[in-house]
């Protein structure tokens, strides 16, 4: 059931890209797709009634959550931030040159 909801969020983001014409809306939809992937990764790494992977004491044996997907999500979050920042920079310069955020308008002006 949880996987299904992550998949639903992915599809909402995908629909945003396919339907919307505004550059900023496309950037928002891309970010939503990435958020759904991070959530899916965190859900895959979860273990029932386990503790976060911080070792409190060296001796006793404790049941921890899987640290590998968390490392992957940490890397992917910063990659998502980098991609979003570059996309927004391009969108600002395109608005400066074309005067609009609408893709069809830009394609018409580009000729």
């Amino acid at each position: 059931m949880i996987y299904f909801l992550c998949g639903l969020l992915l599809l909402v983001g995908l629909s945003g890209i396919l339907l919307k014409r505004n550059l900023i809306k496309i950037v928002i939809s891309l970010t939503i797709i990435e958020y759904s992937l991070f959530m899916f990764l965190a859900v895959v790494g979860y273990k029932q009634n386990a503790l976060p992977p911080i070792v409190k004491s060296v001796t006793e044996e404790v049941n921890y959550v899987d640290p590998l997907p968390q490392a992957i999500v940490l890397t992917a979050i910063v990659i998502g931030l980098a991609t979003t920042a570059l996309l927004v920079a391009l969108a600002v310069r395109i608005y400066e040159k074309y005067g609009t955020f609408d893709i069809r308008e830009i394609r018409r002006l580009k000729g």
Binding site: L10, I17, L68, I72, I79, L86, L87, R93, I94
Partner: protein, 501 residues
């Protein structure tokens, strides 16, 4: 095996050195502008020599961080170099060095040259990282490094149409990366490991069911978008012409191969395994790219857009060769990938020289440049003949092998189609030669002179390569260079046992 244990330590240098060069250039860009040129060229020269020195090594496995496997399960990240990745490594560093020599004088028309060198070195580091890595998520990270560097390089000359092309390229690239990441997550949740060889070992005894088929589709869409295969090619005809010439040479010649074709073939052949249905789908995509690319190229009157469409059709040839799944087909596909990277980057460098000299890309406004720019004209003629597959040049040999492979595996219609597409490529490039180089020059082109020495040198070097590449098929040289690459793909699953021995 001590020779391989010494050669093992060269592997991380391929990624660490361009990264170090990029950071160094940003640190010292205030002190001296000229120094950045020297650093960048020296690093790429060194990388090319190193990659050529690794030619006759068996499969090399390098464990980053020194983490030995425990209970047979690999722990850290593995850098794996076999014949196939060595072929790509040589392509990346060779075309990178030549494009960098070309851009010494070409980039005088652009501002902020140290920034250009930093982004170029980061793209090289990203591609080397993808080609060397034996870990699924590591391929994704270095694919992002190379992709983000190429997005910003496409928008380097901040004109209106270049920004729009870079934005479209980045949106499609990010969607492709999202699909690839989803595929990696599903593989991790099933097999619990990220190492390519370990994934192959776990999946070998699992029956192929819905999740594996979905990861196959996701990787096909993701790497298809990155490699500009036909249904996903929309960004390429805009992105490549608007990039500066050395960058579009790198994009067409190397990036869509290292990120698109190599990663898909490596994951599918060596790790997940190819089902006959998947191979047929890829054959259909290859044929569609091949034919549609040429037809679309006919209608173009912009020099670089025409070359971009031809890139799609030539990549269709490469995919056709590889996905026939026969030893001869794989040999033809890989050899054509090598040839295509040489003559396609030469053609883009020629278009850059034409733009540098005359300032325009429209075929109608150019004419008779042979008198004014003899070197560019001659090298462009050599490149056009080799892309069209005229006998003495390298394009002919690889297309011949692909067509023979098609006939050998009873795909007669595909062989006929390949011949037809080759003829239409020849016609298209004769049109280019007639409009740009032959005939008498127009009035405003009278005072144009030849391009500076650095650009001529790199073009002559590539033209020389175009001519002698045919010799790579001679029995002596073939075993050294092409055969290891073909063997790694022919027995793909050997990779698992070799890496995890």
């Amino acid at each position: 095996m001590n020779s391989s244990s010494v050669a093992q330590y060269i592997l991380p240098v391929f990624v660490a050195m361009p990264l170090g060069g990029a950071f160094l250039i940003q640190l010292i860009k205030k002190i001296s502008k000229g120094f950045c040129d020297i650093i960048a060229n020296f690093i790429l020269l060194l990388l090319l020599i190193l990659s050529l020195s690794l030619l006759d090594n068996p499969l090399l496995v390098y464990k980053v961080g020194g983490w030995m496997p425990s209970k047979g399960i690999p722990i850290g990240i593995y850098l794996v170099l076999d014949g196939f990745s060595l072929l790509l490594l040589v392509i990346i560093n060779m075309i990178g060095l030549i494009s960098l020599i070309f851009s010494i004088s070409y980039m005088k028309k652009f501002t902020n040259k140290p920034l250009y060198y930093t982004l170029f070195l980061l793209m090289i580091a990203g591609m080397n990282g993808v080609v060397l890595s034996g870990d699924l998520f590591n391929i994704y990270v270095f694919l992002e490094v190379a992709a983000i560097a190429s997005y910003s390089l496409v928008a380097f000359g901040t004109e209106a149409d270049e920004l729009e092309a870079a934005f479209k390229y980045q949106v499609m690239g990010t969607v492709a990366s999202a699909f690839i990441l989803l595929g990696i997550i599903i593989i991790y949740s099933i097999t619990g490991t990220l190492n390519l060889a370990d994934v192959g070992r776990v999946l070998k005894d699992k029956v192929i069911e819905a999740p594996i088929i979905l990861t196959g589709i996701l990787f096909l869409v993701g790497f298809g978008l990155k490699g500009a295969m036909m249904p996903f090619h929309a960004w390429l005809p805009d992105a490549h012409p608007s990039a500066p010439a050395p960058i579009s040479a790198m994009l067409s010649g190397v990036l869509i191969k290292a990120i698109g074709v190599y990663a898909l073939v490596r994951i599918m052949f060596c790790s997940i395994g190819v089902t006959p249905l998947f191979a047929d789908i890829m054959l259909v995509i290859a044929v569609v790219s091949m034919t549609a690319g040429v037809f679309l190229a006919f209608a173009q009157w912009d020099f670089k857009r025409l070359l971009a469409y031809h890139s799609i059709s030539q990549m269709g040839y490469v995919m056709l060769g590889i996905w026939l799944m026969t030893p001869l087909g794989i040999l033809g596909g890989l050899f054509h990938m090598l040839n295509h990277s040489v003559f396609k980057s030469l053609l883009f460098l020629n278009s850059g020289a034409v733009v540098y000299g005359t300032g325009s890309r429209q075929l109608k406004r150019l004419g008779g440049l042979n008198q004014k720019m003899p070197i560019t004209g001659c090298t462009s003629f050599i490149a056009s003949m080799s892309i069209a597959g005229v006998p003495p040049f390298n394009g002919f040999w690889s297309k011949l092998i692909i067509i023979m492979a098609c006939i050998q595996s009873h795909h007669f219609s595909l062989a006929a189609l390949a011949v037809l597409v080759s003829i239409m490529t020849l016609v298209s490039f004769l049109k280019v030669q007639k409009y740009v180089f032959f005939g008498e020059p127009k009035q405003e082109l009278k005072d144009k002179k030849e391009v500076p020495f650095a650009m001529c040198f790199s073009m002559i070097l590539l033209a020389f390569l175009c001519i002698i590449m045919g010799a790579l098929l001679l029995p002596g040289v073939k075993e050294l260079f092409i055969d290891p690459a073909v063997n790694t793909l022919v027995n793909g699953k050997e990779y698992i046992s070799l890496v995890l021995k």
